[in-house]
């Protein structure tokens, strides 16, 4: 968290739904302007044992009060500064494992806060970001002082819509979270799933309580506004007992939806049993990669086409903060499992570089595009970009021109590019060409080197013995070491 007065002219507002406050983002700082009416609640919450412990352990975003002059002094309200999470990510970029972990964090904090007289008023995955592989609850204004007699968790339906039902849809119907959250900001309504299930499927235990019964109840009394009429419990103890019971039940349901490691997907185990690399060739590639890391010492690295994260983990173990992207949710999920288990600074995301996540939300300003977050067009966001065994997929399968790919690499990296050129004679290249050889006569090692060296300076290169594959370490022309 920076303490310097960073009064930048560009101040953008990216959060506005909660009347309690707004988020202000300057170039390097995340500030929150809190309405005076809600400020004392927030102060009290931040002083609770729950909040202090969660901030110490990194589960809650670190938050300190700052002077209102930090946002130009024109705002009425208290101003807080949040720890900056290096790379924001959104649920439509997460595998099911990460959505599940975000849900567990939300419920755990909610149940803990209950013990100290606070409730959690919204429960959406957008309240959670990832610091590496660790989920961090970032919306401190979600916690509000409870009416002790109120037995309602107003955010229950939102928790169901945005955590439980997407995980249920993924588990039972193979729905992709990327499609669910790209299409619906606030998740899935029970009605959307009800019609997908068979008659018997509608009576399965979790489906019954999360979809079928709410769907029937909504159909019968949905137009009756009296259901929202305020009612109170007879005692604070009873209200709290009910809320704890509801949240504990939601936690059990969430755990029942926990994704299991997949048996197989197109890309799982790629390095192990589907790849053409022999152990010696893989070791050679790994040696080149490690030497590149040792000589350039990147603090941040973008691993494009990370597969199961073999090289991301190597980079993280050498101190880099890694964002690993792949198109297959199964392999991204497996990266998260391992990174989380070993506490490695790897943020795995389901992102296709040839169709990068667009900016979303109101005026396309609520959630930034992947390229904007990656610093494309603003000097690059990573000390190193690694593109290992992925270039041929981008050039052949997606038909992206080589020069365009190198231009994008040049925009994403602040300094270095580590790239593997896969020649047209390579069996994997041949497999994806599928007889369209005439389209790719321009892809040669010479044309690649010529295009690359127009943008980068060559530091090292090496052919992988016995393969039509070459490894290159490039440095951007004019990059500061």
């Amino acid at each position: 968290m920076t303490a310097s007065a960073d009064k930048l002219p560009i101040i953008t507002f990216r959060s506005f739904r909660d009347p309690a406050g707004r988020l202000v983002r300057t170039r390097d700082r995340i500030l929150r302007v809190v309405d005076p009416a809600y400020a004392s609640d927030l102060e009290s919450f931040l002083a609770t044992g729950t909040a202090r412990q969660a901030m110490e352990t990194g589960r809650l975003v670190r938050t300190i009060p700052v002077a209102s002059s930090e946002v130009g002094g024109s705002e009425t309200g208290r101003v807080y500064e949040h720890e900056r999470i290096r790379f924001p990510s959104y649920p439509y970029e997460w595998p099911a494992e990460m959505l599940h972990a975000a849900g567990v964090l939300t419920l755990n904090l909610g149940i803990q806060a209950l013990e100290e007289g606070f409730g959690i008023k919204d429960a959406t995955p957008y309240n959670v970001l990832y610091r590496g592989s660790e989920p961090v609850f970032v919306d401190v204004l979600s916690f509000e002082r409870r009416d002790p007699l109120d037995p309602t968790w107003i955010a229950y339906a939102q928790f169901v819509r945005t955590f439980l039902l997407p995980l249920l849809a993924q588990r039972d119907f193979g729905s992709k979270l990327q499609s669910i959250f790209s299409g619906q900001r606030d998740g899935l309504e029970p009605e959307a799933l009800y019609h997908q299930a068979s008659l018997l499927g509608r009576l399965k235990p979790h489906f019954l309580s999360l979809v079928t019964l709410p769907k029937w109840a909504g159909a019968k009394r949905g137009a009756d506004e009296s259901i929202y009429r305020p009612k109170k419990s007879s005692s604070p103890e009873q209200a709290r007992y009910i809320l704890e019971g509801l949240m504990n039940r939601s936690r059990k349901q969430l755990n029942a939806m926990a994704p299991q490691p997949p048996a197989d997907s197109t890309w799982t185990g790629y390095l192990d049993h589907k790849s053409l690399y022999s152990p010696a060739q893989l070791a050679q590639k790994q040696r080149f990669f490690e030497q590149a890391l040792d000589s350039t010492k990147p603090a941040s690295l973008l691993d494009v086409g990370s597969n199961e994260g073999h090289f991301s983990f190597l980079a993280a173990r050498k101190g880099a903060s890694v964002v690993a992207i792949d198109t297959d949710p199964a392999v991204v999920g497996s990266i998260w499992r391992q990174a989380s288990k070993e506490k490695l600074d790897v943020l795995p995301l389901v992102v296709d570089l040839t169709r990068p996540t667009p900016a979303t939300g109101w005026r396309n300003q609520e959630c930034l595009s992947f390229l904007e977050r990656s610093g494309a067009g603003s000097g690059g966001g990573f000390d190193m970009v690694a593109m290992l065994a992925v270039m041929h997929h981008i050039l052949v399968t997606e038909r992206i021109p080589m020069e365009d790919l190198l231009d994008l690499a040049d925009q994403l990296t602040k300094r270095d590019l580590l790239i593997e050129f896969v020649g047209p004679e390579d069996p994997m290249f041949r497999r994806i060409v599928r007889g369209r050889d005439r389209l790719y006569t321009n892809i040669t090692r010479e044309s690649f080197e010529s295009a690359a060296e127009a943008r980068f300076e060559l530091l090292r290169s090496e052919r992988i013995d016995g393969l039509h594959r070459w490894l290159y370490l490039y440095r951007r022309r004019g990059a500061v070491n």
Binding site: K121, D122, T124, D150, P151, I154, Y156, A219, Y228
Partner: protein, 83 residues
């Protein structure tokens, strides 16, 4: 006499079980998150059920002298709630 006392407890217990079905329905929705419709009604029904088990536990604890580890009445943390 003893049987009569037990009968009285049963009646009181049944009344206490029904009471929360009326009282423990959802309170005002002052959050900004969409409370939904079907899920909100489902929550109300589940809250009513939990409200019933709250009194049932309390009643059983008193009658049988059992102490439930999760008994919320023993925590007393709501003393800190001022509003």
């Amino acid at each position: 006499m003893k049987i009569a006392t037990q009968g009285n407890y049963k009646i009181i217990g049944a009344a206490l079980l029904l009471l929360p079905l009326i009282l423990a329905t959802p309170s005002r929705a002052y959050g900004y998150a969409d409370p939904g419709t079907g899920a909100f009604i489902y929550q109300a029904a589940y809250a009513a059920f939990l409200g019933g088990t709250f009194y049932l536990r309390k009643f059983l604890n008193r009658f049988f002298g059992k102490r439930k580890p999760a008994d919320p009445t023993t925590s007393g943390t709501h003393d800190r709630v001022s509003r």
